[in-house]
């Protein structure tokens, strides 16, 4: 293989190193919450199982597919920019952005149904975790969409090149984290009994 011309060494983490510090911290925060969930569930399995049945697994499953597909689009966006194709990159990322929007809408419908049923964080421990975890994740999806939007705008102006696409990789890394967290969250809270 000829020596790579671009500044991104293959051995390095993709994107800006600072984003990996965030990703690590985010994973730690969610990790602690997941452990706390497991710990509290063990104290009252019946309550957790009963409350879990009231969640909409269908919308959770659709959202899982939506996020995984969006991550695929992001991968294609990064591949495009590595070939210096700003336009294609922007198109793929716009696809991911729209899917992020779909996730947000489905999640809001779900939240609405719970609030309409008078379920709050004080209802019981299961709902406290369900609402907290999915709300924190929801905020990350919104944050990820803001980041994607900024990258899309820069790409549309032709702001990246084969030499300089660290920004795209940085945003992509964050988006994959958002996706990854959901892939753990969905089975943990919606399915595993």
């Amino acid at each position: 293989m000829p020596p790579a011309i671009n500044i991104n060494n293959q051995d390095d983490l993709p994107g800006d190193f600072a984003i990996w510090i965030f990703i690590f911290a985010e994973m730690l925060a969610f990790g602690v919450l997941f452990v706390a969930y497991a710990f509290s569930r063990a104290q009252d399995v019946e309550l957790f199982n009963a409350s879990q049945l009231t969640l909409s697994r269908i919308s959770g499953a659709i959202n899982t597919l939506v996020l995984i597909t969006s991550s695929y689009f992001v991968v294609q966006g990064v591949a495009a920019i590595k070939r210096g194709l700003n336009k294609q990159c922007a198109h793929w990322l716009t696809g991911a952005f729209i899917l992020g929007g779909v996730f947000v809408v489905i999640k809001m419908v779900e939240f609405h149904a719970k609030f309409a049923a008078d379920i709050t964080m004080s209802t019981n421990n299961f709902y406290m975790f369900y609402l907290s975890l999915t709300f924190f994740h929801f905020m990350h999806v919104l944050m990820g969409m803001v980041i994607l939007a900024m990258i899309i705008m820069k790409a549309k102006r032709g702001g990246y090149s084969t030499q300089d696409y660290v920004g795209v990789e940085t945003g992509a890394s964050f988006w994959h984290m958002v996706d990854f967290l959901w892939i753990i969250l969905f089975p943990l809270v919606y399915i595993i009994r």
Partner: protein, 458 residues
């Protein structure tokens, strides 16, 4: 110094050190009252000494922050301060208002003070740390806004850097969150809930931005490391601070009547609060290791490194010690809290102000660094104050652990005052460490008067 208007910082620094000395003297009085209950009674009762001790702390740190920002903002913005005159007027207003308030605490019964200062018009007094009479509170708002205005106008007309933006954000937050001190609902739960928006969101939120900006500034100056590197660290650290610190407010909501989910939210997020402090330590040592120059002001480098370590220990580690709800259930409001409070305030905020003074004061006095002998004395004062404060924290931690056991966990729990008698040995030890701290502080003040050959600018 590069800009003439930076000179206003000197006034603020001198006032800060003077009030710092006052704070420590009242700390010693109060420390003795823990074991000799009627010491100085009825002239200075314990509650008054405590009020003066904590209020002076806040005020001298604010003087320090203001002085530091008047020093560093012109240099960061590469332009003169927007209005040095306003900075000087603000200084005198703040100093006089502060002095009158402390005299009011000392000379007038608190209830009369409340009556005379219009507390019945807008009831804001009588709450820990927010004891100031209404006119003083209004004065603080005016002073904070004048400071913010002066700094922001300077930033706007000059170069914008990450440091000046972070510092301005911190100051904006400081001004905004202080407004909650005017909100005093009758409902005690709500009162406490929003009281923490001033207290917690200051020290575990916006003040940390000011701390980060000041530390980053000094590190750039003394190490000569690239600005981009320092700025990236600064952004990562303050983001982590806000992400963990804002929801971390929940660790104060465990037992005050707020919804139960705060026990989870508060525990989880505040358990992560040490991370930005740990990052700050790694950052400071990294920068000093990668230094591109040997700055003649060795003392300033020591203060800066000391800040990063002691902030991590005091705020990070000692905070984590009792931040999880199941542990806090037993430790809430014991001497463990006092241990954390002392080491965190000293480690994070007192030290960062002293770092800034140590770096800037020689330059304000027309030299790159103080004479060797003065610096050695300053470094002695660093070690004396830091080690004695660490011991104060250790003794109070010991007191707290015994207190929790005797009063709350033992099969035959004792009453509060009976327990206080049992732990008096810790209080005596703490008072001893406090005296060593005072010696350190006097040495520090003395170091400003040491004469000798000093390094000129390169």
């Amino acid at each position: 110094m590069k800009y003439k208007s930076q000179a206003v910082a000197k006034l603020y620094f001198i006032a800060a050190i003077g009030l710092f000395l006052g704070q420590i003297l009242f700390g010693l009085i109060m420390g003795l009252q823990y074991v000799v209950g009627d010491f100085l009674f009825p002239v200075i009762p314990f509650n008054v000494a405590r009020m003066v001790h904590t209020n002076l702390l806040i005020v001298w740190l604010l003087f320090g922050f203001m002085g530091a920002s008047y020093y560093l903002i012109p240099e960061e913005s590469e332009t003169e301060l927007y209005s040095p005159k306003l900075a000087i007027i603000t200084f005198w207003i703040f100093l006089v208002a502060g002095a009158v308030t402390v005299l009011g605490y000392l000379l007038v019964p608190y209830a009369s003070l409340a009556k005379w200062t219009g507390n019945d018009l807008l009831n804001t007094m009588g709450r820990e740390f927010l004891e100031q009479p209404l006119p003083t509170k209004v004065g603080i708002v005016i002073v904070a806004l004048s400071w913010l205005f002066n700094i922001v106008m300077t930033v706007l007309k000059g170069r914008k850097t990450a440091i000046s933006i972070v510092l301005s954000l911190g100051m904006l937050g400081l001004a905004v969150f202080f407004l909650f001190s005017f909100y005093n609902p009758v409902n005690l739960v709500k009162d406490k809930f929003y009281w923490w928006w001033v207290v917690h969101l200051w020290v575990e939120g916006v003040w940390e931005l000011i701390l980060g900006a000041m530390l980053a500034f000094v590190l750039i100056k003394v190490t000569g490391v690239d600005r981009e590197v320092v700025e990236k660290w600064l952004y990562v650290i303050i983001t982590m601070t806000l992400v963990t610190g804002i929801i971390g407010t929940g660790h104060h909501y465990f037992w005050i009547g707020a919804p139960a989910y705060w026990q989870w939210w508060g525990s989880v997020f505040s358990a992560l609060e040490p991370i930005p402090f740990l990052m700050m330590t790694i950052f400071a040592f990294n920068m000093v290791n990668k230094r591109r120059r040997e700055h003649p002001n060795k003392a300033a480098v020591l203060w800066a490194l000391g800040t990063s370590v002691m902030a991590f220990l005091g705020a990070g580690l000692w905070g984590f010690l009792h931040t999880l709800a199941p542990i806090n259930y037993y430790t809430h409001g014991t001497q463990l809290t006092a241990a954390h409070g002392h080491l965190a305030f000293f480690g994070a905020y007192a030290l960062v102000v002293l770092t800034m003074i140590s770096y800037a004061m020689p330059i304000l006095r027309g030299r790159a660094a103080n004479p060797e002998r003065a610096q050695i004395m300053e470094m002695w004062s660093f070690w004396l104050m830091t080690i004695s404060m660490f011991f104060i924290a250790l003794f109070l931690t010991g007191a707290g652990i015994v207190q929790v056991w005797l009063q709350r966990m033992s099969p035959t729990p004792m009453s509060f005052m009976a327990v206080q008698d049992q732990i008096s040995i810790f209080y005596w030890a703490r008072e001893g460490a406090g005296l060593v701290f005072l010696i350190g502080l006097l040495l520090y003040i003395g170091s400003f008067f040491v004469k000798g050959e000093s390094r000129a600018f390169e």
